[in-house]
């Protein structure tokens, strides 16, 4: 399949964030910074998303939602935790309803610290995520090739 890097579609989900990081995330995606010139689309649909931006910690109410959003995204996918709350739970860590950072529920690939995370840091995180996503896509392709080889071998053995 080769180069998929040119059309990373984002899914942005607000966990239990204070909205600080969300404002910064949306600021990165406004026409001013023109993320679309890199093919980035801020899609609201997990079925069509490649990169999952999550802000805020995980609490008992949204844990199932986050898990479902992650499961609905087709492979290859990359998760970026934006802001210190999504990384570790942040200042809310000791609250009775907070479970912790995003990695308590789903595997997180890239951590973007900050309170709130700076737009530069978020863009840097997304750029790293795109590279990782490409690497994952290549790996997926290789695995598929190996599987096809195995299928052929099995067919030969049957004959």
């Amino acid at each position: 399949m080769g180069n998929v890097k040119r059309s990373p579609w984002l899914l942005h989900y607000d966990g239990s964030s204070c909205n600080g990081c969300d404002i910064e995330v949306l600021a990165c995606l406004t026409p001013v910074y023109d993320a679309e010139r890199f093919g980035i689309i801020n899609t609201g649909d997990p079925m069509q998303a490649d990169i999952f931006l999550i802000t805020g910690g995980i609490n008992k109410a949204n844990q199932a939602v986050v898990k479902q959003l992650y499961d609905q995204m087709p492979r290859p996918k990359v998760v970026v935790a934006v802001g210190v709350c999504a990384c570790t739970g942040g200042v809310f860590k000791e609250c009775y309803n907070i479970i912790g950072g995003a990695d308590t529920t789903i595997p997180v690939d890239i951590y973007v610290p900050g309170c709130a995370a700076r737009p530069q840091a978020i863009i840097d995180g997304i750029v790293k995520a795109i590279d990782l996503w490409q690497a994952k896509a290549d790996k997926m392709e290789n695995v598929q090739k190996e599987l096809n080889k195995l299928d052929k071998l099995e067919e030969k053995e049957k004959k």
Partner: protein, 288 residues
């Protein structure tokens, strides 16, 4: 006969390329209108290639079948049109394709998808009268429903059917699912219906849907061009210019208007159709 086969083959091969480029051009011009650089013109092709390489999650096994049916009917519609066949039949087939798409959106459990499907039905109700009237306009102007006869006329059909053309261009905004009539599928995120009819489509299914849309857009633009085509070879140049102007107008409308409610869309679409196309129809009937 060879012309017909040539037309069908040209449509099959070049329509997705042209449709993709049109879609890319749309995004580029939209970006420039908003003061941005915008994506590459080839962006829709990159998107489809990526979608084809992604993991295929099956929401409902029938969904991919229905989307393939949608694609197949759209291809047959365009093939018939560029093969010089009956325009009425083309639009009946296109409606069948739209029905497949509505079913594909209905069979999933997502409320957004279902909402998109019911809105798509409303949109069909709004644009069908203008489409049928446009076909009747061609018959009254040239004496035939067949594309092969219409393009052999002495004068382009637009001279006798300006009202039908205006009504058709008006409902084209609904048919292309552009703002202010993007009720069934919002192309801007974080709206009340996520992605409407395409909410539960991902990977391969969405790629097929996109390709079907490219074919559909080329067919619709071909129909816009048909208004300007006649025996004179120069009329084809005029038709291409008219198609590009119409497409630019659609992009302009898309970028300068906000979504309306369905009742407003219904009143506007039927009002324009009955008033402008209807008056044109009466004039043509009286003259004939």
């Amino acid at each position: 006969m060879t012309y017909r086969i040539f037309g069908i083959l040209a449509f099959l091969i070049f329509a997705p390329l042209l449709g993709g480029l049109l879609s890319g051009l749309d995004r580029k011009i939209s970006a420039r209108m908003q003061g941005r650089i915008g994506p590459s013109i080839l962006q829709p092709f990159y998107d489809v290639r990526k979608l084809l390489s992604k993991q295929f999650i099956i929401v409902n096994p029938a969904q991919i079948f229905l989307v393939i049916s949608f694609l197949a009917t759209v291809i047959v519609t365009g093939g018939m049109f560029f093969g010089g066949s009956d325009i009425l039949l083309c639009f009946f087939l296109l409606s069948t394709g739209a029905t497949f798409l509505i079913f594909a959106a209905c069979i999933t459990n997502s409320p957004y998808s279902n909402l998109g499907a019911s809105r798509e039905l409303l949109q069909m109700m709004c644009y069908e009268p203008a489409v049928l009237l446009a076909c009747i306009g061609f018959y009254l102007a040239t004496g035939s429903f067949n594309v092969s006869d219409i393009i052999q006329a002495d004068l382009p059909a637009i001279i006798k059917t300006p009202g039908f053309f205006v009504a058709f261009v008006f409902i084209l905004t609904i048919k292309l699912r552009k703002s202010p009539f993007d009720l069934s599928t919002s192309h801007h995120p974080h709206q009340e219906l996520v992605k409407g009819i395409t909410t539960d489509m991902g990977a391969k299914t969405l790629a097929l849907y996109e390709i079907a849309e490219w074919y559909e857009h080329v067919f619709l633009m071909g129909f816009v061009g048909l208004f300007f085509v006649c025996k004179n070879p120069w009329s084809y140049v005029v038709a291409v210019v008219a198609i590009l102007a119409t497409y630019f107008l659609e992009i302009l409308i898309d970028n300068t208007s906000a979504r309306v409610k369905w009742l407003t869309m219904f009143k506007l679409a039927w009002g324009v159709t009955l008033l402008i196309a209807g008056v044109n129809l009466i004039i043509l009937m009286v003259l004939a």
